[in-house]
């Protein structure tokens, strides 16, 4: 569906003032329409829900993500343009990590600053809060999540032509020692252009050593150098949230680019247009526009002859 908004672009272009007024009027109209359909409480504010998720990638990047929804005619729908405040431990001004505004899918995200470790509780846990506060359209809402410190790693090994993906998952005990975590489902994928391709039929599960060893298939196409991105993921774990580890390695079957794809054909890219077509089209353009430009040039000559005084006398 081709549904796109470009009001920002219009603003930049500095359109005619009347257009700006019309735009403002239409904006106001749309706002009212949106609000009128949402279910409101006695204060006139709409009911809203937040879903808060924690994701840690490659043991390094930590991110908080919320989905903001509001009730429209008894159905929950994504709420766009809602500011969400993110806090550590409690929703107090001193604990504010940052703010983000929900997009058209209701998503608002915040990447946590480095050095979160120093804020861990004695049991090596972190608590985060996402809150909608003092919003004109929506009632105050907050959601809290607590996640445990973890060490999620993936190593890739090749022995006797057998390729193995090894996963290790550890967490801290009360003494600050790393201990393996068993019975956690881990999904293994290969990154493709439009999504993730699972490389095992079912999720693998960590053993009592917190490890997984899975054989990697040898027939997955990679890029021209055979490179692949292998992805290991723990999804929505009640203790750790989402964990992800990605690594690039040349375990794929190198793709051989068919030279015919670079041939000059009707269906090729614009850089490989057939020579005969380029010649024909350009010859037609030059031929026709040549005549047009000649006529325009002749038209200017009409003006030149118009300055002739002798002729004016003749014709009067």
């Amino acid at each position: 569906m081709k549904k796109i908004s470009i009001s920002r672009h219009l603003g930049r272009c500095g359109l005619f003032w009347a257009t700006a007024l019309l735009l403002a009027a239409t904006n106001a109209g749309a706002q009212t329409e949106s609000d009128s359909t949402a279910t409101s409480d006695e204060n006139g504010k709409a009911e809203v829900s937040i879903e808060l998720r924690y994701t840690e990638a490659n043991n390094k990047t930590k991110m908080l993500e919320t989905t903001v929804k509001t009730k429209v005619e008894d159905a929950w729908q994504a709420a766009k343009g809602v500011p969400v405040n993110f806090y550590r431990n409690e929703a107090a001004p001193g604990q504010l990590l940052g703010s983000s505004t929900s997009n058209d899918k209701g998503l608002a995200m915040l990447i946590l600053p480095e050095g979160e470790e120093k804020f861990a509780t004695p049991s090596f846990e972190y608590t985060y809060i996402a809150a909608i506060e003092n919003n004109e359209r929506f009632e105050d809402t907050e959601e809290q999540i607590t996640v445990a410190e973890s060490a999620f790693e993936m190593t890739l090994e090749e022995e006797d032509s057998v390729r193995q993906v090894r996963i290790s998952l550890k967490a801290m005990d009360e003494n600050g020692e790393e201990v393996p975590v068993g019975e956690v489902e881990v999904n293994l994928y290969v990154q493709r252009l439009f999504g993730l391709l699972p490389i095992t039929e079912d999720p693998e599960t960590t053993d009592e050593e917190g490890e997984i060893a899975a054989e990697f298939p040898a027939d997955i196409p990679g890029d021209t150098a055979g490179n692949l991105i292998i992805v290991a993921r723990v999804d929505d774990h009640e203790r750790f949230g989402n964990l992800e580890f990605r690594r690039k390695i040349n375990w794929g079957v190198p793709v051989v680019v068919d030279p015919a794809k670079n041939a000059r054909e009707l269906w090729s890219s614009r850089a490989n247009a057939p020579i005969y077509l380029i010649v024909i089209v350009n010859a037609m353009i030059i031929g026709i526009w040549g005549v047009i430009l000649y006529i325009v040039y002749q038209t200017f000559k009409i003006k030149k002859f118009g300055r002739s005084k002798v002729n004016l006398q003749d014709t009067k």
């Binding site: 904006n27 006529i295 004016l312």
Partner: protein, 449 residues
């Protein structure tokens, strides 16, 4: 006898004066003012809805995953079609030596220029992101019919503008020299557009030569513009569009609606400006015969377009054809064929049918029929893709334009009519100098002073 004697006593100068006085542009009357006001209101509301579309996207229309082209594209094809009238009257009739076309040339160009201008505008209206229009030019694939269409539309627009402007130059000089009681801006406009015209033999020679070159040049470009427009459809593998007949089918249909457009405008101008002396019953009769010829040609291509696929009824084509013949689109399909083609042919075959009023009514039938014909070419095909529709809401499987979509479309039609009205207010609708020359009054006269 008295009248004859009186006329013969007039000198040629008086007759020239009379022609000039009768054909000079005139201010709008009450009806004209109301008409212009109505068009402005329609355009303003259309602009308001269009701004909403730019802000919210094409979601305000009924176009979805399957019906990605709707009435905007049908309207675009209609505008391109009707713009071909310029080449029909200014070029084909000129080169075939039909002298009677003189009073109709400017009317045809006054239709062609706004029509091709709005064809280009409508394409931008159809874009969800109009700010990306320049990508079509900067990242053009020369293999794509869309690229060819952009090239040929811009070329045709420039040629049409020149064909409107060049024959206007002597008339501009006439207005420059005579219309002293007009507002300053208008006098200045005529002075600029007159290009210092003073009937110098070299000027006359350049003008005639340029008009001749343009008349020749516009014919292949006119065929090109509508053939390429038809290829936007025919190069796509879809039921109803996968046809080798599409080029001539589109071109013949375009000439038919173009001729009808001229007839409608002839009648309106003749009635409101009392041009009976210049746009005579003979002109209507000739245009009527031309319209019959073009309609028969179009009928022939219609038979080819529908009969052959219907005879074969290939599995994938059948849903589409049945929806036209006796399904969802049947009332519109048969109404267009009967009222937009068959009835006008029958009526215009009779000399009585080629009188101004019946001609006007038939031309309106043809124009309205032609618009809905483009609707029938674009929409039913998109509703019957080769790959079955799956996993889409039921409402996406049909297309009926939204109110805002209708209005935006109507406002483009109103915009084209508004430009025609403005052109007819500023410039002589009938070429004055050519009329004087044809009346044999030009010798020894300076038409520009």
């Amino acid at each position: 006898m008295k009248t004859k004697a009186h006329t013969s006593s007039k000198n040629t100068g008086d007759q020239s004066e009379e022609i000039i006085r009768e054909l000079m542009p005139r201010p709008f009357g009450r009806i004209g003012q109301l008409w212009v006001a109505l068009l402005i209101v329609i355009c303003a509301v259309g602009l308001f809805f269009y701004i909403q579309q730019v802000r919210d996207g094409l979601g305000i229309t009924a176009m979805r995953d399957y019906s990605t082209w709707g009435i905007y594209i049908a309207n675009f094809v209609f505008f391109v079609a009707i713009s071909l009238v310029g080449s029909l009257i200014s070029a084909i009739l000129k080169l075939s030596g039909a002298q009677w076309r003189t009073p109709l040339t400017r009317i045809s160009e006054m239709i062609a220029v706004p029509a091709i201008l709005f064809a280009a505008i409508v394409i931008v209206v159809d874009m969800g992101r109009p700010d990306r229009f320049l990508n079509v030019i900067f990242h053009a694939r020369i293999q794509s019919p869309i690229t060819w269409d952009v090239i040929v539309i811009s070329t045709y627009m420039v040629i049409s503008l020149l064909l409107l402007y060049l024959p206007l130059i002597p008339d501009m000089a006439l207005l420059r020299d005579r219309a002293k009681d007009l507002p300053k801006w208008q006098q200045k406009l005529y002075k600029i557009l007159a290009l210092g015209w003073n009937n110098h033999p070299e000027q006359v020679k350049i003008l005639h030569k340029s008009e001749l070159y343009l008349s020749i040049l516009i014919i292949p470009v006119a065929f090109g513009i509508h053939t390429v427009t038809s290829w936007l459809f025919a190069t796509t593998l879809r039921p109803g569009w996968d046809s080798t007949n599409f080029g001539p089918y589109f071109v013949s249909g375009a000439f038919m609606v173009g001729a009808a457009g001229v007839i409608a405008m002839m009648y309106i101008f003749r009635t409101f400006y009392k041009f009976e002396k210049y746009i005579t019953d003979k002109h209507f009769s000739n245009m009527g015969k031309l319209l019959v010829l073009l309609s028969l040609l179009y009928l022939y291509f219609n038979i080819n377009e529908y009969f052959v696929p219907a005879y074969k009824m290939k599995a994938f084509e059948s849903d589409h054809l049945k929806s036209l013949f006796y399904g969802r689109y049947a009332p519109l399909f048969w109404a267009v064929q009967v009222f937009g083609m068959i009835i006008p042919i029958i009526v215009l075959l009779s000399p009585k049918g080629r009188k101004p009023l019946p001609m006007f009514i038939m031309s309106i039938f043809v124009i309205v029929g032609a618009w809905f014909k483009r609707f029938l070419i674009v929409i039913p095909t998109l509703s019957h893709p080769y790959i079955p529709m799956t996993r889409v809401p039921e409402s996406w499987q049909h297309y009926f334009p939204t109110f805002k979509e209708w209005w935006i479309t109507a406002s483009t039609l109103a915009g084209a009519l508004l430009i025609m009205a403005i052109l007819s207010r500023l410039f002589p609708i009938i070429p004055v100098v050519e009329e004087i020359e044809e009346a044999g009054l030009a010798k020894g006269e300076n038409q520009t002073t």
